[in-house]
């Protein structure tokens, strides 16, 4: 509980910092006045540009952290992460197809739901390939294949677009960015994210029981098919919605559970809320970093995340190799 309070405070602090930092130099007092009163140019910047961006960063980070913790708990494998195993790449493909075919404009939630559908296919494929034990090799290899395939198709769709700008947007879809996102994006992504997160409610007990093995879990009354269904749908909804508005942001679901696992005594159930808060803090921090390092250049979030995430990933593989 103390960990959750500390993570919550960290999120709140980073959220305020994210509101205070931006290419337009606005003083702290003026920022707060703009945020509360909402009038004038400062009000517009705070309420319509920085606030939705910070809200989206927190929501997306929370979803990615929670998805990573849930998948790792279910597969009992610390390498299971939506970005690494191709779920994010598939979601990006779904979003790009929806945008380029015009389906995204058909109704309000068409964009996140298209990404959800593609992410769902990827999750099912990965679970099928990895098998019930969730072996690392099959998981990562299937992930590499799904990522490469989805990435290539995304590039193809963008290249076929009659809009010359679209062809250069592959980087956004593969690396993720929150630049110039608005309330429009919060409004379409948040409901789908909320449904996904709601599905995760109460799976903690099942994940804890799974650490004893599937037979033991079944013997204490855990319905494994139901658990699996909820995780599959929940992860697809959360990663799909997050990716459809901000592109694929990798490594969040890998790094955050890795950092927090020791703090919750290795219990996957207790890790879920901690990973959600930790993910929110991490994406908020990364989005502050991209604005501090190269303001006005739209440095991609994936760049920052990979700088942190890739060493963690290698460390995990090293540990698994030594552990056998």
């Amino acid at each position: 509980m103390r960990l959750l309070a500390a993570l919550g405070a960290l999120c709140a602090g980073l959220f305020v910092a994210a509101l205070m930092i931006g290419p337009a130099q606005i003083g702290i007092a003026e920022s707060f006045r703009g945020l509360l009163a909402g009038d004038g140019a400062a009000g517009l910047v705070m309420r319509e540009i920085r606030l939705p961006r910070a809200v989206l960063a927190a929501l997306i980070g929370g979803c990615l952290g929670l998805s990573g913790a849930a998948m790792q708990g279910y597969l009992r494998n610390p390498l299971a992460e939506p970005g690494l195993i191709g779920v994010s790449a598939a979601a990006a493909l779904g979003a790009v197809i929806a945008i380029q075919t015009g389906f995204a404009a058909a109704f309000a939630l068409a964009l996140p739901l298209s990404a959800l559908a593609a992410a769902l296919l990827a999750v099912l494929l990965i679970l099928f390939m990895a098998g019930p034990g969730g072996g690392s090799l099959a998981l990562i290899l299937a992930g590499v294949a799904v990522s490469a395939f989805a990435g290539a198709l995304t590039s193809l769709v963008l290249n076929l677009s009659p809009n010359p700008f679209a062809a250069s947007e592959f980087v956004f879809w593969m690396m993720g960015s929150l630049a110039d996102r608005s309330w429009l994006h919060v409004v379409i992504a948040a409901p789908v994210m909320a449904v996904g997160a709601a599905m995760m409610w109460g799976i903690g007990r099942g994940l804890d029981a799974l650490t004893l093995g599937e037979d033991a879990a079944a013997s204490i009354g855990i319905g494994l098919p139901g658990l699996r269904l909820r995780i599959v749908l929940g992860v697809a909804a959360m990663v799909g919605a997050a990716t459809s508005v901000a592109g694929a942001i990798g490594f969040v679901g890998l790094v955050v559970p890795h950092l927090l696992r020791g703090r919750v005594g290795g219990r996957p159930g207790a890790l879920l809320p901690a990973a959600a808060l930790g993910g929110a803090a991490m994406v908020l921090a990364a989005d502050i970093a991209v604005r501090l390092v190269l303001p006005g250049r739209d440095l991609k979030l994936g760049v920052v995340m990979a700088l942190i995430g890739a060493p963690v990933f290698l460390h995990l593989i090293w540990q698994q190799r030594r552990g056998g």
Binding site: A24, Q100, P164, S182, L184
Partner: protein
């Protein structure tokens, strides 16, 4: 040295006759200027961009003349006696054409009205159509003199990827000429990306946006941002083709900018 003499000889030969008779243009801007200045049948091919109505003011004429895609082989087979290129032409293409003995003339970019006047003269000289160039020039000068005086609103362009025009661009020249006060001049923006926050804080009175493509892209999504619509500024849309190239038709674009 041999190449230089050959080029000189070609130049002299060109000057002696009435001008080149088979001219190929491989740049959107030289295409349109050449179409204005060239005599009937003199221009045998223009670039494919000139036939794109989103980019070209003379798409129909370009379609009638016939288009090329700027490849050296394709150009060489047309047996031109003069190729007109822009400053950003593919270096390899120009190099190869020169090596094959085709005369290539590069017309510089136009960022000011003085540049446009210079380019009209250059084009008249290149095509041996000095009298026609004079004619166009005097009509251009008359159009410029007839432009009305506009109100000095603080204005900027804002386009896909958050690009705002810099001080030394043709669009900046057109906006100043329309009486507008350029945001780039006030905050010292030298062109390129301007964050939406910065634009909002600068408080422009007029935001000029360009053409949009039918299919969406994330680059253009910034133009749909609610903060941009909430801005207390007049919005004006100017088609990109109106000021991509320095042409006498710029006066029409300037006229549409006058508030």
């Amino acid at each position: 040295m041999v190449r230089l003499i050959a080029a000189l000889a070609l130049c002299l030969a060109g000057a002696a006759s009435a001008g080149p008779s088979r001219v190929v243009s491989i740049n959107l801007c030289t295409d349109q200027l050449a179409m204005l200045v060239a005599g009937p049948g003199q221009l045998v091919s223009v670039s494919w961009l000139a036939a794109d109505p989103a980019l070209s003011l003379m798409a129909e004429e370009a379609g009638q003349i016939g288009v090329n895609h700027g490849g050296a082989e394709e150009i060489y087979l047309m047996r031109p006696d003069l190729v007109l290129a822009g400053p950003y032409a593919a270096h390899a293409t120009v190099e190869m054409l020169t090596r094959l003995g085709v005369q290539v003339r590069t017309i510089p970019a136009a960022n000011t009205i003085a540049d446009i006047r210079r380019n009209i003269t250059l084009m008249g000289d290149a095509l041996g159509r000095e009298a026609r160039a004079e004619e166009i020039l005097s009509a251009f000068d008359a159009d410029l003199a007839a432009l009305p005086e506009g109100r000095p609103l603080l204005a900027t362009t804002y386009a896909a990827n958050g690009l705002a025009n810099g001080r030394d661009t043709l669009s900046a020249e057109a906006m100043r000429r329309a009486g507008l006060f350029l945001l780039a001049d006030r905050i010292g923006h030298s062109g390129g990306k301007m964050a939406l926050e910065e634009l909002v804080m600068a408080g422009p009175e007029l935001v000029v946006t360009g053409s949009r493509y039918a299919t969406p892209s994330r680059a253009e999504a910034v133009l749909d941002h609610p903060a941009l619509s909430a801005l207390q500024a007049e919005r004006l849309s100017v088609a990109d083709r109106g000021w991509i190239c320095g042409l006498p038709a710029l006066t029409g674009t300037i006229r549409s900018l006058v508030r």
